[in-house]
């Protein structure tokens, strides 16, 4: 009995000692950080318009503010060798937009995007559009797999599609592939259905192909179109395959974001790429090509 009491006491003592985790505010000086402007813009000659977003960063330490402030009073401008153009604020998305008629984006050319605030704060980022080269981008339907029969007794197939390209740019170049299916979102009966594109392969979306120079061997990836069971409105399925060639900043930025694991306690901390002087974010560029396949 006495031994049991001793054991109980020792256990409680040891267990409580182990469970004691003395917590207090850290005594080391904390980083004194002011909020910074975050400018993000992806520039391409293959888009009808360019979009930039301007927000404030929120210092971690200090009085809590749950909101990421979007900046709506900035003057955002793009400057190139042929002139400059100002972005306008699109009120719904709170993004800054400029249409391609106002500034021609040319491959091989360097552009600077800047954002000025009325109080004089300014940030800017610079990038050089990749040179266009013949990448021999192709798609090939490899085979099909029967998925199921629909309500009308019709066979529904999934298709394996191979995308391939041969980088021909000299020096290092960076590519992404994407495979998408067209959908119509029919949420409001009194409004026409909206066209949208659904990713077929999320893993492929976050993968880069890096080339150190012209390649005799093609880079490739195979995706499955899946059964496509979303809706009946688009009975003739349309698939679009994209090849994006980004500049170095485009690659470094996205690689760092894809590596970022948020609050995963097991992951190594990630420093996100930024080429914005005086702030955070990225100004980078890309070219894109697409191929379309309609359901056979």
């Amino acid at each position: 009995m006495k031994l049991k009491r001793i054991l109980t006491f020792l256990f409680v003592l040891t267990g409580s000692l182990f469970s004691i985790s003395c917590e207090k505010n850290a005594t080391i000086p904390l980083p004194k950080v002011e909020k910074k402007l975050v400018l993000t813009c992806f520039i391409s000659p293959d888009e009808d318009s360019l979009t930039a977003r301007v927000t404030w960063s929120k210092p971690i330490f200090g009085v809590n503010n749950n909101f990421i402030e979007t900046v709506t009073d900035a003057t955002v401008e793009i400057t190139g060798p042929d002139g400059s153009a100002g972005f306008y604020l699109e009120p719904v998305s709170e993004s800054y937009v400029v249409h391609k008629e106002l500034i021609q984006i040319k491959p091989g050319t360097t552009y600077t995007v800047s954002a000025h605030l009325p109080n004089g704060i300014m940030v800017r980022g610079t990038c050089t559009i990749p040179l266009r080269s013949e990448n021999s981008f192709e798609t090939e339907v490899l085979d099909s797999v029967l998925q199921y029969q629909d309500g009308n007794g019709k066979d529904v197939y999934s298709y394996n599609v191979k995308m391939k390209f041969k980088p021909s740019a000299t020096g290092e170049s960076w590519y992404r592939l994407g495979a998408y299916q067209r959908l119509f979102q029919d949420y409001f009966p009194d409004k026409p259905a909206q066209e949208t594109w659904e990713t077929l392969d999320y893993d492929l979306d976050s993968r880069f192909f890096v080339s150190s120079g012209p390649s005799a061997n093609p880079y490739s990836a195979v995706v499955s179109t899946g059964a496509g069971f979303y809706n009946e409105l688009d009975s003739s399925k349309v698939y679009r395959f994209m090849l994006v060639q980004g500049d170095r900043s485009y690659y470094q930025f996205h690689e760092s974001v894809f590596n970022f694991e948020g609050d995963n306690p097991f992951a190594e901390p990630v420093q996100l790429f930024s080429n914005v002087e005086g702030g955070l974010g990225v100004v980078c560029s890309y070219l894109k090509e697409s191929r379309t396949i309609r359901k056979p």
Binding site: V33, K58, G178, E261, E268
Partner: protein, 779 residues
């Protein structure tokens, strides 16, 4: 006290003779490693090797040979007209209270000054038992962390960071078998039971050619052989674990055994308090065993082994629906060594070993729900089969040559995932294993050019084969010593090292999730060059030794997890877009470290201990980390100091205290959060994805420092002789002045004077003031 024995030789007289034999402990016949065999008149001598063997070739005139070992009574053997002979000696343990021992005798050979080897630390098992420890758990590695040049990673951690090197850069050997993860309880304790150990030696630099395979240190531990005369035992009961060791003869003076075991019992004590539907399991245990047989003076055979395991898990049952879930993790090492000592002739001694070692880490999760079974098992590990041969050739008192070779077949399992999910009809078995061959040949020569000047040059040729790629590396080594005076020497060393196997450690969490991986076409071997220069001084009148060393070490092809990588394939809610292959999760860079270490040590007397101080810098540079900018290593510690004191108050009572101080670890802090859109190749006009609200701006890597670490531990031991042996009660206190040392920081909230919620940095202290009581016995 010392003994003088006179031995009369025969009448025929060769020019030179060789005296050889073993130096052992009287009573147990335990070989004494590093015992001094010295001839004062000739100012020459040697030390016993790892098996207690020595050989000395001297002129055939009358000589008096001194046999000595710290803490033991000196024996002086006079040989008149000696012949070549086997002369094995037994030394008795000396009483250090009143008697002068070897270090105090000016005529003996001072150890520190005489040794050509620098950057080497020896720990006596008796000191491990005397120094106060966390929860009374005596720990070999924690005592090593009190030495200059050796640092721990974090509060309570038993990791070794030696001269700026990472924890994977230490070769830890237990009776020649490598131990790959030397920790219990998430790194809080090492798995070495001091009761089973005879010698503990750490080499931080100036590596002799017989050592290789790691960049930063070699921790060589030898188990006791077992008392050859009578059964003896010892053990202890503490707050966390209990241990027991028994040793003795199987055949007196021929065959002996040793068995030592240890187990924690918090789980046993907690069992009555746990819910029958929900039980936790947590324990660690380890066993050491050794058997050895002496065939003759020329042949001995040893078999030794180790097995250890840690387990943390839980079992939950929902009795209504018959659901059950159990999950947890366990890890452990197993080693075995079969060794044969053979004396070819008095000047040529050999040791041939067959070695096995295995480390395995497992995570498991088994559940039964709605009659459907799910099973997940992830494991990683490494397994070795090896052989080595080491020969000591005592050519003359000028040349003592060591040469030999080794070969090891490694089987790496960096990741193995086995998933069986009946509800999803999933049966996945992805086991990746790689085999590699690592081998080496070496030769080194301890050259005593004059009484003052000695060199130890060596050359090691390493070979590694993996995944179709062979690598051969030459590693030159050199140590030198010049005696300015009999009690003062300058030493220097240079060593080129290669490391073919690597450990990936996750910096975020302190779990035993480390992965051992081989060099391959994608992963080059790590390489280092280290240079050291130092002074060694003996103060025999005061039983003090003083050392001062400066070093510079550069390491190339050092590996690290890349940013965002983790040890386990995880699909987070934020990001389901990635797949992980461990080979693609690492980056390579370089590291360099330099510093100065000082130590004053008192080995014998009523008061013993040491004071150590290290001033050092460790930096790293990886092209793919920190935007290619150099940064401090996480364990870079500018100042590291320790004071260790052991005092025999009187017969039956001894006191001990330690005080440690260290600059805080380097850490990376988050600075700000922000919204960060990415681009998608979507074929629509607006290519922005939904924004990343949780993007975080971090400081430069390891740009901030944790608060400085310091604490004091004290202990008192009461010894009492009993009819059956001796018992010792020990009361110790860890962190006696309750300093709140930070274990880790996290982002938390507090409220300011305006009642606003404020985000701040919070600190967790793991071990406050912790008393412990333990009972130890020996018979």
């Amino acid at each position: 006290m010392c003994f003088v024995l006179k031995i009369q030789g025969q009448t025929s007289k060769p020019d030179k003779i060789t005296i050889s034999g073993y130096v052992k402990e009287e009573g147990s016949n335990e070989p004494l490693v590093g015992a001094t065999v010295y001839i004062p008149r000739l100012k020459t001598g040697t030390v016993t090797n790892g098996f207690g063997y020595y050989a000395l070739t001297v002129p055939s005139d009358s000589v008096t040979i001194w046999f000595s070992y710290v803490g033991y009574q000196i024996q002086k053997i006079r040989l008149d007209n000696p012949q070549s002979q086997v002369l094995s000696i037994s030394l008795s343990e000396g009483k250090t209270l009143n008697e002068v021992t070897i270090i105090g005798n000016r005529d003996t050979m001072p150890q520190t000054v005489e040794n050509v080897q620098m950057s080497q630390l020896s720990i006596r098992p008796a000191d491990v038992k005397a120094i106060p420890a966390l929860l009374g758990e005596k720990d070999v590695i924690k005592v090593l962390q009190l030495m200059p040049g050796v640092q721990k990673g974090s509060e309570g951690s038993a990791g070794l960071y030696v001269r700026g090197g990472g924890p994977d850069q230490n070769l830890i050997l237990l009776d020649d078998a490598p131990v790959y993860n030397a920790f219990h309880l998430f790194g809080f304790f090492s798995l070495f039971n001091g009761d089973a150990l005879k010698t503990i030696e750490l080499t931080k630099g100036g590596f002799p050619a017989r050592f290789g395979g790691r960049l930063s240190s070699v921790l060589e531990m030898r188990m006791k052989e077992g008392n050859q005369q009578k059964i003896k035992g010892e053990g202890g009961v503490g707050l966390l674990s209990s241990r027991f060791t028994i040793e003795g003869p199987i055949f007196k003076n021929k065959t002996s055994f040793l068995f030592s075991g240890r187990r924690s019992y918090l789980d046993i004590l907690a069992a009555p308090f746990q819910n029958s539907d929900s039980k936790s399991k947590f324990y660690f245990m380890d066993f050491n065993m050794k058997v050895n047989h002496t065939f003759s003076d020329k042949d001995k055979l040893y078999l030794s082994g180790y097995f250890g395991r840690d387990l943390f898990g839980f079992v939950e049952r929902a009795s209504v629906f018959g659901e059950k879930e159990e999950a947890g993790l366990y890890w452990g090492n197993a080693t075995a060594t079969l060794r044969w000592n053979h004396v070819f002739n008095p000047r040529l001694f050999s040791n041939i070993s067959l070695i096995y070692s295995r480390y395995r880490f497992n995570i498991y999760n088994n559940s039964t729900r709605s009659g459907s079974e799910f099973s997940l098992k992830y494991y990683s590990g490494i397994e070795d089969f090896g052989a080595k041969a080491d020969l000591d050739y005592y050519y003359s008192t000028v040349h003592q040559i060591k040469f030999g070779g080794q070969a090891v077949w490694h089987t790496f399992t960096p990741s193995a995932i086995v998933i069986k999910d009946a509800s999803q009809n999933e049966d996945r078995n992805e086991v990746k294993q790689y085999g590699s061959l690592e081998s080496a040949l070496y030769v080194e020569d301890l050259i005593r050019v004059t009484d003052r000047l000695a060199f130890n040059p060596g050359l090691r040729q390493s070979y590694f084969y993996s995944d179709g790629v062979s690598r051969i590396k030459l590693e030159p080594r050199l140590s030198a010593r010049y005696k300015i005076r009999s009690d003062l020497a300058v030493k220097a060393s240079a060593a080129d090292m290669n490391q073919f196997i690597h450990l990936l450690t996750n910096t975020g969490v302190g779990l035993p999730t480390d992965l051992w991986i081989p060099s391959s076409p994608k992963i080059s071997p790590q390489r280092s060059q280290q240079f050291a220069l130092g002074l060694a001084k003996d103060l025999p009148k005061h039983n003090l030794t003083i050392s001062l060393e400066g070093y510079y070490k550069q390491m190339k092809q050092v590996i690290s997890y890349k940013e965002g990588a983790s040890f386990l394939e995880i699909e987070s809610a934020n990001n389901t877009q990635k797949s992980y292959a461990w080979e693609d999760q690492i980056v390579r860079g370089k590291s360099w470290s330099y510093g100065v270490e000082a130590m004053v040590q008192k080995h014998v007397g009523k008061l013993t201990g040491w004071v150590g101080y290290t001033l050092s810098w460790t930096r790293m540079k990886f092209p793919d980390l920190n935007f290619g900018k150099a940064f401090y290593a996480r364990y870079d510690r500018r100042h590291d100091a320790s004071v260790v004191v052991m005092y025999k108050l009187k017969d039956g009572i001894s006191l001990s205290a330690t005080w440690v101080y260290g600059t805080g670890n380097a850490i990376t802090l988050p600075l700000a959060s922000y919204s960060l859109p990415t681009h998608s190749p979507l074929p629509s006009a607006n290519s922005f994805l939904s924004a990343y609200d949780n993007a975080t701006e971090y400081s430069d890597r390891n740009a901030y420092r944790m608060a400085a670490y310091h604490r004091m531990d004290v202990g008192i031991q009461w010894h009492k002789k009993k009819s059956w042996g001796e018992r010792t009660w020990e009361l110790s206190v860890y962190n006696v002045y309750n300093h709140r040392n930070p274990y880790f920081y996290y982002i938390g909230n507090t409220t300011n004077s305006q009642n606003q919620s404020v985000t701040t940095l919070k600190q967790i202290t793991l071990f406050p003031f912790i008393p412990s009581l333990s009972y130890n016995f020996k018979f």
